[in-house]
Amino acid sequence: MLDFLQMLINGIAAGSTYALFGMAMVIIYKTSEVPNFAQGEMALIATYVAYLMLEQYGLPAWIAYPLALVFAALLGAVLEFAVLRRAKAPSVLGMIIVTIGMEMILMGLVSWKFGAEQKAMPFPISPYDSLVIGDFFISTLEVITLAVALTVMGVLFAFFRFTRLGLAMKATQQNPIAARIMGIRTRRVHMATWGLSALVGASAGLLMAPVLMQPYMMWDPMLKGFAAAVLGGMTSLPGAVFGAYLLGIIENLFGGYVSIEFKSVVAFAVIVLMLCFKPSGLFARHYVRKV
C-alpha cells in the first residue's frame, strides 16, 4: 500500500511536466488546429538561452529565468509570423510537416551550438532536495513543478474566460470568419497564441533542466504531453491536465508492478488503445467533418 501511494505520488510528479506541455499544445490547437511538434524545441531553445545567460554572462537567476520566458514568448510569436502565416493552403498533414521542420531546425541549431553532451544547469534549488511527508518522498523540484502546472492551469482558465484577448482566442477558434467580421484581428490573435503557448512550454523546459539537460531531452516529455492532450480531447485544457496525470500515474504504476523496462512505452500503447474506443479523446464531443 505504501509502495502504491509512493508510485502515485511519483506519477503525479511526472504528470506535471506532461501537463505543462499538453496545455501548451492545446492552446495552439484550440485556436489554429495546428498540432505543434516544435513545442518541445521552442522550450529547449529557451532553456539553453537561460543557461547561456547564467553561465556565459553571469546574470543572476532572478533576471535570467524571466528573460528566458520572455525570449520564449517572442520566439513563438516570431515563428508564427515568419513560418506558419506563410502557409498557402494549410492542411493537417502540411502543418505537421512544417512544425516538424521547425523542430528539426531548432534542435539542429541547439546541438550545433552546444554539442550533444550533458550540461549542468545552475538552479536555485537542487534537484536532490526532497520533502518528506509522513512516509513519502517527493523532491522539492517536483513540488514546484506541480505547483506551477496547477497555477498555469488556473491562470489559463481565467485568461480564457475573463480577458479580452482570451475571449478573442476562443472566438477565433470557433469561427474565424465571424471573428474577423466582429473586428478581431485573427492573425494577431494567432501570433499571441503562439507566444503564450511557447511561454507555457518553456516553463516546463526550465523546470526539467536541472535534472537533465541535453539537446534530445524534450522529445519524450513533449510527445507524452501531446499524447496527454489527445487523451483529453486536444481542445480542452482541463482534459489535457487530467490526461497528463493519468498518463504519469499509469506509467509509474506499470513501471512498479509490471515491467520497468517498458515503462516509457506504455503511455503510447495506452493512447493507441484508448483512441480505438474514444476517437476524439475523453473530453471532446466527437464530430465528423461534412463533405
Binding site: 490547437y29 488546429e33 498540432p35 513560418v83 506563410r86 502557409a87 498557402k88 493552403a89 493537417v92 498533414l93 502540411g94 505537421i96 510537416i97 512544417v98 516538424i100 521542420g101 521547425m102 523542430e103 528539426m104 531546425i105 531548432l106 534542435m107 539542429g108 541549431l109 546541438s111 550545433w112 551550438k113 552546444f114 554539442g115 550533444a116 553532451e117 539537446p215 522529445w219 510527445l223 501531446f226 499524447a227 489527445v230 486536444m234 523496462e261 517498458f262 516509457s264 512505452v265 503511455a267 503510447f268 500503447a269 493512447i271 493507441v272 483512441l275 480505438c276 476517437p279 476524439s280 479523446g281 465528423v288 467533418r289 461534412k290 463533405v291
Partner: protein, 349 residues
C-alpha cells in the same frame, strides 16, 4: 495536364515515344551501372533503392489515401527483424523469409488501419507515432530479437546464387525496386487505387458512392506496411547488422519528409524525393569534407558554434527543405516538374 479520351489511355504506362525512349535509357543505365561505378556508389544506389521502396509504399497511404502515418519505422523494423529472425531461427530461405516478414508487417498495418477508421488529423498522427515507438522499443528490449546488441545478418543465398558484395545485392535489389514501382503505379490505376483517391478527396462522398471504407482504408495501411516491410528486410542486408537504435522516430519523419518533398500522390515524385533526401543524408554525414562549403562551415563553427556539433547541420538543412517545400510548392518536386513541363510546352507564349 493532358486530356484523356478513354480508359486505356489513362492506364497505359507509356504515353508517347519519348517516354518509351527515356524509360529504356533509364533501365539500360540501371543495368550497366554496377559494372561502371565504384563500390561506394553501388552501396549508395542500394541505400537509395530501399528508400524508394518504402517511400512509394508510404505515398500510397499518405498521398493517395490521405492518411497520416508517423510510424513507418515500426513496419520497417518488423520487416528487418522478421526477415533476419525467420532466416536464423526458422531456417527459411531468404525470399520466403522476406515475403513472410513483409506479410507480418502488412498484418500489423491492417491492425493499425482499424483505429484509423475513426481517427483523423492529430489523433491519427499520435496513434501511428505511438505505434512506431512501441514496436521499436518492444523489439529492442526482447532478448529473442538480440536486445540492445542487435543482430548480424546470416550469409545471403538464393538457391545456388551467393550474394556477397554490394554489387551482387544490387542485381537483386534493382529489378525488385523497378517491379515494386510498376506494381504501385498499376495499383493506383485500378479500381482499388481509384477507391483510395476517392477516400482522400472526400471520405463521406466516397462512402456514399459505395466505397467500403473498412476494406479500403485497412487495405491502404496493409499495402503501405507491406512495402515498408520489404524495404526493411532488404535494408538489413545492406547494413549487414541491425540494432533497435536505427529504427527511431526520426526515421519515420524522414520517410514522411521524402514523400512530401517528392510530391504527394505521385510515384515519380516519390522516387525523386527519396533519392534526393537519402543522397543528401549520406552526403551531409561528413559535411566538413564537402569542397568550398566545408572549410567555411568549419570556420563558422569554430567562431560561433561548436565543432563537436557540426554534424547537426544536416537537421537544419532537412528542416529548411521541409518548410520551404510545404510553404512554396505543396506538390513538391513533382509540382516543380509539372510547372516546368507546362511552361516549355507553350514556350514562347
Amino acid at each position: 495536364m493532358d486530356m484523356k479520351r478513354d480508359y486505356f489511355e489513362d492506364v497505359q504506362l507509356c504515353t508517347s515515344g519519348t517516354v518509351v525512349f527515356w524509360l529504356a535509357v533509364l533501365l539500360a543505365g540501371l543495368a550497366v551501372f554496377p559494372f561502371l561505378a565504384r563500390n561506394y556508389y553501388v552501396y549508395m544506389a542500394n541505400y537509395l533503392a530501399i528508400n524508394v521502396i518504402v517511400v512509394i509504399g508510404l505515398n500510397i497511404l499518405v498521398g493517395y489515401t490521405g492518411q497520416v502515418s508517423l510510424g513507418h519505422a515500426g513496419f520497417f523494423a518488423i520487416g528487418a527483424y522478421g526477415t533476419v529472425v525467420l532466416m536464423t531461427r526458422a531456417h527459411l530461405p531468404f525470399p520466403a523469409a522476406l515475403l513472410l516478414a513483409a506479410l507480418i508487417a502488412a498484418a500489423f498495418g491492417f491492425l493499425l488501419g482499424l483505429p484509423s477508421l475513426r481517427l483523423e488529423g492529430p489523433y491519427l498522427a499520435i496513434a501511428t507515432l505511438g505505434f512506431g515507438i512501441t514496436i521499436t522499443q518492444v523489439i529492442g528490449r526482447l532478448e529473442f530479437f538480440g536486445g540492445r546488441q542487435g543482430l548480424h545478418t546470416p550469409p545471403l543465398t538464393i538457391g545456388p546464387w551467393r550474394l556477397e558484395s554490394d554489387r551482387d545485392f544490387y542485381c537483386l535489389l534493382a529489378p525488385l525496386t523497378v517491379f515494386l514501382c510498376l506494381a504501385a503505379r498499376n495499383l493506383i490505376k485500378t479500381r482499388v487505387g481509384r477507391a483510395f483517391i476517392a477516400i482522400r478527396d472526400a471520405e463521406i462522398a466516397a462512402k456514399t458512392i459505395g466505397v467500403n471504407l473498412l476494406v479500403y482504408k485497412t487495405l491502404a495501411f496493409a499495402v503501405s506496411a507491406f512495402y515498408a516491410g520489404i524495404g526493411g528486410g532488404l535494408y538489413a542486408f545492406v547494413l549487414r547488422f541491425i540494432e533497435p537504435e536505427i529504427f527511431t522516430l526520426l526515421m519515420s519523419i524522414m520517410f514522411l519528409a521524402m514523400v512530401v518533398v517528392g510530391g504527394l500522390g505521385s510515384i515519380l515524385g516519390s522516387i525523386a524525393g527519396a533519392c534526393l533526401l537519402a543522397w543528401m543524408d549520406l552526403q551531409l554525414r561528413n559535411i566538413l569534407s564537402i569542397p568550398l562549403l566545408g572549410p567555411w562551415l568549419e570556420q563558422l563553427s569554430r567562431n560561433w558554434f561548436s565543432i563537436t556539433g557540426v554534424s547537426n547541420i544536416q537537421f537544419i538543412v532537412f528542416g529548411l527543405i521541409m518548410i520551404l517545400i510545404m510553404l512554396f510548392e505543396p506538390l513538391g518536386i513533382f509540382g516543380v516538374w509539372l510547372r516546368a513541363k507546362k511552361y516549355w510546352k507553350t514556350w514562347p507564349f
